[in-house]
Symmetry: C2
């Protein structure tokens, strides 16, 4: 660090003079300033909740790319968006990028809170001790039913009519948000295909969720649901050294295990070095990669043999229980990459796959004709 | 998922009708739309590079909070901002939040590329094979000196005069960005206090960086620099199965180790399940937490005994080799939390610490007077 420079900047006045001098001698000043934007805010009036709600929507990079046929995207619904939207969409845009993407491009819908405890708890729970500071907070608890009504009957139809969604959807929730996700998994299992449930408050109401899991029919069919559940190391950093959260999560997991559910991909992961506050980022990152563990394609192999791509998407579709297809953009990229690296036959095959999946695309038809012409000459 | 609904939405026209019906029966329409912004774009003309450069600046939440005395913030300089800014600042805002924050609030300056290979490589390297597709890319290589000049003489003074920076700064770079960070660590060690170096291209120019490390004086004093170096599992996902990247990183690390440098906190971490493309997120997350491993305060203990906070900041300052202090916001939060939970004496002590560190704050003086008055009555 340049010490002299640092000390001259202690007052605002000197700062301005320094900036002027710097501007004159080193560089021109700021030419323009703009905002770096990662999404759009929507206001929706909810009848189920009788209030206006704010949701934030992130769109993948290709969403508005007019060169390619409109794709249909999975949708992630994110609770506690005021805290989670920035970091979650940051990971999303990084993991979904390019031909080496580990996960598909997705739409992310972040739901911000108005009354968090009301919306994200399944039952009304009082606290006997009137001195307990949480008394006020718990007064409104138990509004999960209305909130789930909002998700199912209002927000999802709104997103599905305004955006190009594929029908595959994921719910991401932490703490009370994880409690809500668990409640939905057990009682409204058709609502989401996959769940990232992060350090959920399963201690709620004397472990209500575990009681409900106990009441499940053995071998219940979960219809290809995926659940990634993450648990922080509460021993390490809890305020009072208690482990009620960990105990309740382990109990829920062991009950589900014992019930031997069918067609449920469930993974419980302990994070030794994370506490309840730090766990959301690594858990969401790992959760996304767990759900789409069959997504990554070996580009090198695919360049030799395009059927690798079709096989991989079949594997992925079977694994998640939902048909997924490569985008026109991806197939065109692979085709052009093959042609550039002297694998013209494979390039033609990729364009043919694209033409079959996107029959209305003129771009693909023209590129395919060009590639065939190039080969014949 | 509501199947009936889904199938009615196949055409755009039906979509619009469905939206209208939905709007009439379920909810009112969108009331307003705004952008979710995470930073500001600045344009700077660089003399060193003879071109205009675009940088993106993220500010922590409290930066413009007028209730508190202006704080001074560490600054992270982020290479390849078009790819890394969204995800890095997302993790940053999540980890720096609240009284349980794992890292300090920081300013993040993202540098976008114009000619990446030119700027982020230390030497000009040609490729003998004229058929090699990288021929064009490498033509311009070797511009690191000018780029580092831009960082040191132009960008840093610009940031220091426009923003409230503390003087502590971190460089985060991946791939060629990691190569640049390594070059700066060896040849311009005064420029940054800490480095997050992610899967750096240390194979560059016949392992030039290792040759330079070999030439270091044994026991060289690195003046409390921190280096977190992350290495992907190249065996798993490289395009051609080669491991030249891993070999060159391990070699560099072992040379530094053998030279027994003084006052260098260096950690090399292998990521078994990450490839060159996926490693930036977990590595930056772990790197930030490694640098500030002494930052997290046990709030419960501090409520009993405020000196815990002073002790922790002393430990942190010693560990990173730079004096760090708790912010006025943090101390006020702790003071008020103590008073709310009937630890009035401890609350007064927190306000006294704040009054000593921020003597010009009227907010602190008034709150301290109120707390003393409350205790005496």
């Amino acid at each position: 660090m340049n010490k002299k420079y640092y000390f001259t900047l202690k007052s605002n006045r000197l700062k301005k003079i320094a900036l002027l001098l710097y501007t004159l001698f080193f560089s021109t000043a700021v030419l323009s300033q703009g905002n770096i934007s990662i999404g759009k805010e929507h206001k929706i009036f909810s009848k189920a909740l009788n209030e206006e709600r704010t949701v934030w929507v992130y769109l993948p990079k290709d969403y508005n790319n007019e060169k390619f046929s409109p794709a249909k995207y999975p949708v992630v619904y994110l609770l506690d968006a005021e805290n989670s939207f920035h970091s979650f969409t940051g990971m999303q845009q990084s993991l979904e990028r390019g031909p080496y993407a580990s996960i598909p491009q997705m739409i992310v819908v972040g739901i911000t809170n108005t009354n968090r405890t009301r919306d994200l708890t399944p039952t009304k729970v009082g606290i006997a001790d009137s001195q307990d500071k949480r008394q006020d907070m718990f007064q409104d608890s138990g509004g999960n039913t209305n909130f789930i009504q909002f998700l199912e009957k209002e927000l999802r139809p709104y997103i599905d009519s305004n955006y190009s969604s594929s029908g595959y959807s994921i719910l991401n929730g932490h703490s009370f948000g994880g409690l809500t996700a668990t409640n939905i998994l057990l009682n409204h299992p058709d609502l989401f295909n996959a769940y990232i449930i992060i350090d959920p408050s399963l201690w709620w109401d004397n472990e209500l969720m575990s009681k409900q899991a106990e009441a499940l029919q053995p071998h219940k069919d979960f219809k290809n649901r995926t659940v990634y559940m993450a648990m922080a190391n509460e021993r390490k950093a809890s305020k009072d050294g208690s482990t009620s959260m960990m105990k309740s999560i382990r109990k829920f997991d062991s009950i589900l295990d014992y019930k031997k559910p069918k067609n449920l991909r469930l993974k419980l992961q302990l994070y030794e070095n994370e506490n309840h506050g730090t766990i959301p980022i690594p858990a969401a990152y790992d959760g996304l990669r767990f759900i789409f563990r069959e997504h990554l394609i070996n580009v090198k192999e695919a360049t030799q043999n395009p059927s690798v791509v079709e096989e991989q998407f079949k594997k992925l579709s079977k694994d998640i229980g939902f048909n997924m297809f490569p985008t026109e953009n991806y197939l065109s990229w692979m085709a052009n990459y093959c042609i550039r690296t002297n694998h013209v036959d494979q390039g033609i095959t990729f364009f043919k796959i694209a033409a079959k999946l996107y029959p209305e695309s003129n771009q693909v038809k023209e590129a395919l004709a060009r590639a065939i012409h190039q080969k014949e000459n």
